[in-house]
Amino acid sequence: MNIRLVHFKSIGGSAVAEVVIMAAMLVFVVFPLFSSVVERYVLLDKARLIKDSADLTNISVYNALDAENLGKVKVELSDAKAYGIFEELLSRNLRLDGGLNPEDGSVAEAKVEILSLAIYKEGFPKVCPNGSIIVRPAVHSSINVPVRPSLYRDIILNLLGRDHIDAVVHVDSEIPVNN
């Protein structure tokens, strides 16, 4: 009788231990691992979306400026004009208002900053402000888009001690020279 009781306790203890181990694995291994994978995937997806928009905007700036100056003998591109076109197209592609602040559905969480913009048409090779070597006609841009994590947003931001994460995206877009 005594032996049977001990045997029963042993089986019961084993099952309980299995449940406890399983729960601990879920809480301390599976959920954090899954969350970090999802978070990373979402952030990479946001970065891809921003990079795609910046690339599209780069090419558009060149096309717009080039078209406006096709009839002129001497082509001079003022920085203000290039910035103006870049801002307008970036606002459309990232859903920002005129002041580069996010509107509904924008990937940005706060005001977007244009860190640098440069158009390279000749005199190659050249080095862009971020250190990349440009060997063909290209438009360089670097923008800072504030983003926030999707899961455990408050915890991550509190740990970092910040209101958002700065996603600095640098894109050098080669100009298609043949139509």
Partner: protein
Amino acid sequence: MPVKAVVTGVILVIMVFLLVYAVEFFLPLSAKADLDTACRDTMLRIENSGGLNGGVRGELQAELESAGFSNIEIDATGSARLGEKLTLHVEGDFSWNRFTDLFQREEQVIRMVYEKTTVSRKVVN
């Protein structure tokens, strides 16, 4: 011994549920990436041709349908001269089945939108 077998069985069910749930979580994210890629490709083509024509529209529609989208709406600038703005607006419903409970699956539908603007670089000689 039966107790342990039952517990192991329940744990296995929960593990499988979590695995399937995790995989299904990525389906809409993957679909959005497919939508963006297809639209980006179309954007480059209409940038060169100066607008969206019927052939390119049909190809985009077919590509999105094969990626699992329905109720697709494609709206784009039809014709633009060099230097003029071109906008491509695409919307579509993506539906997939997912666990809403441990033993319950339901069809979910999410409306995805792509809208970007570029500048035409078509040159008419």
